[in-house]
Amino acid sequence: MEQFFAALTLSAGYNTALVCIGAALLGAASGAIGVFVLLRKRTLISDAVSHATLPGVALAFIIAQVYFDSGRSLPVLLFGAALSAGLGVLAVDWIKTHTRLTEDAAIGTVLSTFFAVGMVLLTIIQSMSIAGQAGLEGFLLGATSGMLKSEALTIAVAAALVGLAVVLRMKEFSLLCFDESFAAACGYNVRWLDRTLLLLLLGIVVIGLKTVGLVLIIALAIIPPVAARFWTDRVPVLVAIAAGIGASGSYIGAALSASAPNMPTGGLIVLVLFSFFVVSLLISPVRGILAAALKHYRFQRIVHLRQGLLAIAHDEPVLEPLTRSILRRGGFMGGDGQPTVKGQSEARLIERDQKLWNLYREMHPEESHALADWSLKPIGEVLPADTVRVLEQELSPHVVRGDETSRGGAA
């Protein structure tokens, strides 16, 4: 515990501090890029990207070892990882566009086949009995213990660069996610933008391999944006929150793993991130489930109350049990199921309101469809007074029709 707090406050040694800062930058960058991948509805492509790094890492190791005797050089390994991951993305695209198979099957094929090739190469490395291969296993689940200073620095700088690139391209990415064809009409090369997005994602995956490991790195690009989505509907805010969640989750996770060297860093980071997700899911006042449930309850009440009152106004029986109980609780209906005096007068008000709303829909169909509060709130609260006045004037010559209705209802 002491060690955890030491790591958390950056006082557990230079290396640990560097690793934690690197992880935080990585989390921020991946959270930011993940937002656009999520909005593009391509979340799981990151799964293919991460698994497709393995053959590249292994091959780079073999080549570097055999020809240059420097297999453990992190930049070389990451370069290999990036190449094979890029190939994986292209393969997913190719399968999707050229065969009848759908994207999910394409992703699954690529991730498993590439990973299998990587595994075969890893077993070759094992039987080659070269020194220094032990580090490779860290790529699977992430290991920050024993990370070199230069490695930690590389990761931190690279993550910061990718994060910067995302911020610089934010406007274009937002446009791409919001309306692809509009972006194209604005003169942006959509295909190229998509590629850039995936390239940045790929960058994050590759950089994160060492810290989080390839199996779990995708969580860094998935969980923070999904959690952030509960807090806001605006893209820049979303990016900021996702980056914040990603950064703090990764930072805490890395600090935890520094205090417990046996624990896989990736696993800890993911669990911390998940706890952020759960908190967001539950308590966010914007889209959290408690808020949503409350909103739904209120909405349901409004609808049932209004329909119950309309039924009273039209002299119809109220059959729905929920409507009856809401009417009773509001004092609009007696225990015998008969409307009270209060209910009668309120029903007449609502009936008139509904007529105005109906007239509005008839006169301005497009606007009324776009209106979220159509026939949910009293019309005077939603529409400007002069519009309502026009509607009322329009309605008054038709007062006769009201009588017709009650006759029709009782016929």
Binding site: G108, S112, T113, A116, M119, I222, I223
Partner: protein, 313 residues
């Protein structure tokens, strides 16, 4: 011969049976556009397996199977819950759940010190195909000898049972699986609840995943769920034929993958050995690539040729 029977045959059987169980079920995952559910399930079973193991302290036990099945159901419900009440896109919901559960599995594994003793994450990822041996077999006639057959490794017998289960499941529910995959609305209105059928499919997937998991590892389980079905999908438009072809593709991946891994490097004059489980998945992937390119009707090459013929007319 006895070396083949004692060392190679058990591994081939293990790999092929694992491939078959997953490959058959994979057809329905691919058709339901849930291919990545296989991926998710093979990750989420890890915590279930670990917990099952903690209870019994036995690898390849039915407790692990039970834990995995429970974990799979839990994951499916959690994904549904997050998707519905959180209004999260399905792919993202799946991503959140399976990474978290896998992470939990990894952490429990390390925390309880189970790691390194009997179970470890590398094994979970790679499997341990080569460990299957059948020391009681000496001659081909032993293949017909019930008593000797019963001395086959536990994991093979388990996979055999699981394969039987899978086949019975598919034969029994063929019609129901078909309609609920093609048109869930109609399926529901005829009284075949797509929800329950979907859930039972996932449970079968979890059972197959766990049985295959100890043999070939989790990532290769994914390959077997997708590649044979995708291969068959390129070759036919008939569901029964698709199931049949995917079965053949699974078995051949198991057989040739193992043979390639065991004898390939030697034939090429190299000393090293390669992961048989990895090779099986690679062969499955290669079969799929061949099918995608050269399938008679849907293959890319044939389609190009047809287009060209069309254009020149």
């Amino acid at each position: 011969m006895d070396i083949f029977l004692q060392f190679d045959l058990p591994s081939i059987l293990l790999g092929s049976l694992a491939a078959l169980a997953c490959g058959l079920l994979g057809n329905f995952l691919v058709l339901r556009k849930q291919a990545l559910m296989g991926d998710a399930i093979s990750h989420v079973v890890l915590p279930g397996i670990v917990i099952g193991f903690l209870f019994t302290h036995e690898t390849s036990s039915w407790a692990m199977m039970l834990g995995a099945g429970g974990a799979a159901i839990f994951a499916v419900l959690l994904i549904e819950l997050i998707r519905r009440i959180g209004n999260v896109e399905p792919g993202a919901a799946m991503g959140v759940v399976f990474t978290t559960m896998f992470a939990a599995g990894v952490v429990i594994l390390e925390q309880t010190g189970t790691a390194g003793v009997h179970l470890d994450v590398e094994h979970a990822l790679y499997g341990n195909l080569e460990s299957a041996i059948w020391l009681d077999a000496y001659s081909l006639s032993d293949l017909w000898n019930w008593q000797v057959l019963m001395t086959l490794p536990e994991s093979i017998k388990q996979l055999f049972v699981v394969n039987m289960l899978v086949i019975v499941f598919i034969v029994l529910f063929f019609k129901e699986l078909k309609i609920s995959s093609f048109d869930p609305l109609l399926s529901a209105s005829l009284g075949f609840s797509p929800k329950w059928l979907g859930l039972s499919l996932i449970v079968m997937v979890a059972i197959a995943a766990v049985a295959a998991f100890t043999a070939v590892g989790s990532i290769l389980v994914i390959a077997m769920f997708i590649c044979p079905a995708a291969t068959a999908r390129m070759l036919t438009d008939n569901l029964k034929a698709q199931l049949f072809i995917s079965g053949i593709a699974s078995l051949s991946a198991g057989l040739f993958g193992y043979l390639l891994a065991a004898f390939g490097p030697g034939l090429l004059g190299y000393e090293f050995s390669v992961s048989a489980a990895g090779m099986i998945a690679v062969v499955a992937g290669l079969q799929q690539v061949l099918a995608m390119l050269f399938a008679p009707h849907y293959g890319v090459v044939m389609r190009r040729r047809r287009q060209r013929a069309h254009a020149s007319v």
